[in-house]
């Protein structure tokens, strides 16, 4: 089994690295930009909603829009795959704390924002995209399974697809069992074109690459860190990487550029 796709667009956000250009400069030259914002401001949302959006929604929409812009693809036309290990941990903490103290006080907005596909929902609404959107989790194999689903969508007939990986910081007592620090997002627009920067996927037994690259070390504490070997490989122009795809399983990603 080998599946292939062309990478048309890349989006990235991590604390101190508010975009793919900044991430590449950091990975190649060790340079952190000055004055990086503490939180992404997703331009897809109306101004009054940008601050109110949950962190996971803010980062997912920011990197998704950046990847679509780089790909010069109309966001309305793209099916999308949203991959997050935990969803919004701060909202889970809020829901469980409120249910334990005063269940009737649960906020209706926080409740509908608690669904795992909240970012996917805000994305399709903001972009005006009636194309399909999905939201998945596969523990520490979440990004690899999202990448596999995105490329399987191309194999099943989609012209291009958006993949977004993201996780947020855990808060409250939940942080002891679901440790995740900072905010992290990465997005790819993948297509059936057969030129440019290409990736080929293969599942195999094995262990994923250790988190040795500069981006992997920079955001090591985030639950979506298992995606970072791919972004490190893309930044450094390496030939590929091995992503965790399940217990004892890897997704081998080979990168070529022509």
């Amino acid at each position: 089994m080998t599946l292939t796709a062309t990478i048309e667009g890349i989006g990235f956000w991590a604390p101190g690295l508010p975009g793919w250009d900044a991430a590449r400069a950091f990975a190649c030259e060790g340079r952190l930009p000055e004055g990086a914002p503490a939180r992404p401001s997703p331009q897809l949302l109306p101004p009054n909603e940008r601050r109110r959006a949950p962190d996971t929604v803010a980062v997912a929409l920011d990197v998704a829009l950046a990847a679509c812009a780089m790909a010069q693809r109309d966001a309305r036309t793209l099916p999308s795959v949203f991959a997050s290990m935990h969803g919004d941990l701060a909202i889970t903490d809020y829901m469980c704390a409120t249910l334990a103290s005063d269940p009737a006080a649960v906020s209706p907005i926080r409740f509908h924002n608690s669904v795992h596909n909240a970012a996917a929902g805000y994305w399709t609404i903001g972009a005006g995209a009636m194309a399909p959107a999905t939201a998945i989790s596969a523990f520490d194999a979440t990004f690899a399974q999202g990448l596999l689903e995105a490329v399987a969508q191309l194999a099943a007939g989609a012209e291009a697809v958006l993949l977004v990986g993201y996780d947020s910081a855990s808060t409250g007592p939940l942080a002891q069992v679901s440790a995740s620090q900072g905010l992290l997002g990465g997005a790819l627009v993948l297509s059936r074109r057969d030129d440019g920067l290409r990736l080929a996927l293969a599942l195999a037994d094995g262990e994923a690459d250790p988190s040795a690259g500069p981006l992997a070390r920079h955001a090591a504490g985030n639950a979506m860190a298992p995606m970072l070997p791919l972004f490190d490989a893309l930044a450094a122009g390496h030939a590929g990487c091995r992503l965790k795809a399940g217990p004892g399983r890897i997704l081998q990603v080979d990168l070529t550029n022509d």
Partner: protein
């Protein structure tokens, strides 16, 4: 109004055989319990008796989950949601069928694609009611719930992987109430792309405070038994359920039940309210039919999402009327099981498959007064007829829609 994005016609899909399937819900454990309850028009709903401060409403609760702990080897995954998964997996030969697929194809060639909305968040909720101060003074989970895997959405997929031994892609799909319909689409793609030869799909959701008080906060919960498509409907009844199906490529000319099409779309409208004309629902149904090469007039039965909220049922009936002739038999079975959220896709697919097997097409239990806004396709009474094609609609928060097309070959 946003015009629907023009979608190119999807390529036809290879028919997938449904080798085994099952559901466990408030109607009981397994297919026989569901067949019998549907034939007797017997609701599984009861007055809410879940949790320490039960809201005034009706629920579809699965009996006996409290008395069915997981086998000791799987203690790490212990929680209500995985208990229900385990109960459901043991019915109707599904577990044997997936283990047989592992033996025939190899463990790496069998995928697990499982849907849920809230997974085992009930365990996290419980931990927050029993927090204990640690040595550092910070509030900590009690020792029996200090297990990371049950506090994350993939708790369900990971547990199913333990029970089956499959080593192909293992994914938890969590798109709210469309979750366990979308698993069929994702599994079909994995088989189509040659990644695997078989896939166990399904979904499990259990009652918990998050959904009872959350849906209540949105004023979407009825105080009474839900009455889908009735003129006086005033909200949903929540439920819990689990179900599974094993999919493999169908052999040429092979008789039996098949998945023939799937359609997915987004409303691009609102986080918790459907598009008023059901445009996203229409797109999903059209795509499912197109993938299967089946015309709307060929469809014998459609199991509706039909939650019994005023907005959903109106929008869905408009979408159905825009697409299907008056002769379609469409119904909601939510008053049998309650709205089982992330499990609704699989449970109602199972009901559609039973309709293909028996020719008994369920009516809309609970509804007595037709809503003039809903078209003639919406049936309150049961019907008996030879059925070749059946569909199932599942729609979720975020405007996430999925429609499935099944056939009896």
């Amino acid at each position: 109004m946003t015009a629907p994005a023009v979608q190119p016609a999807p390529p036809p899909m290879t028919p997938l055989a449904i080798r085994a399937f099952t559901a466990t819900s408030a109607l009981g454990r397994g297919l026989a319990a569901h067949r019998e309850a549907l034939a007797a028009r017997r609701s599984g709903l009861r007055r809410n008796d879940f949790g320490p401060q039960p809201l005034e409403t009706w629920i579809g609760r699965v009996d006996g989950v409290e008395d069915a702990p997981l086998p000791a080897d799987w203690g790490r995954w212990e929680c209500r949601n995985n208990r229900l998964a385990w109960l459901a997996l043991q019915q109707d030969g599904v577990l044997d069928a997936v283990r047989d697929a592992v033996a025939r194809h190899g463990a790496e060639r069998v995928a697990l694609v499982i849907g849920t909305s809230t997974s085992s968040i009930g365990a996290t909720e419980e931990a927050y009611t029993r927090l204990q101060p640690g040595d550092d003074g910070a509030q900590r989970f009690p020792a029996d719930l200090d297990r990371s895997i049950v506090h994350t959405p993939h708790s369900l997929g990971d547990f199913v992987q333990q029970t089956t031994g499959a080593r192909g892609p293992c994914v938890t799909v969590a798109t709210a109430c469309s979750s366990s319909a979308k698993v069929f689409a994702q599994a079909a793609r994995l088989i189509e792309a040659g990644v695997v030869d078989a896939a166990l799909v399904g979904g499990v959701d259990t009652l918990c405070g998050s959904v009872l008080f959350g849906f209540n906060s949105l004023q979407l919960v009825s105080k009474n038994r839900c009455t889908p498509f009735d003129a006086g409907r005033d909200g949903l009844s929540l439920g819990e359920a689990g179900g599974f199906a094993l999919l493999e490529r169908a052999r040429d000319g092979e008789p039996g039940l098949q998945l023939r099409g799937y359609g997915e779309s987004s409303d691009a409208h609102h986080m918790s309210a459907p598009h008023p004309e059901g445009l996203g629902a229409q797109l999903a149904m059209r795509e499912a039919l197109a993938r299967g090469g089946v015309a709307p007039e060929q469809v014998d039965y459609l199991n509706l999402h039909g939650t019994a909220t005023p907005a959903n049922d109106r929008a869905e009936s408009l979408a159905v009327a825009a697409l299907f002739p008056d002769t379609l038999h469409a119904s909601s079975t939510k008053a049998y099981t309650g709205h089982t959220l992330g499990a609704a896709g699989i449970v109602e697919s199972v009901i559609a498959l039973l309709a293909l097997q028996t020719g008994r097409l369920p009516g809309t239990l609970g509804a007595t007064t037709p809503d003039p806004a809903c078209g003639p396709q919406i049936r309150f009474d049961d019907a008996q007829r030879e059925a070749r094609y059946a569909m199932n609609n599942s729609f979720g928060f975020g405007g996430n829609n999925c429609s499935l097309l099944f056939a009896r070959a």
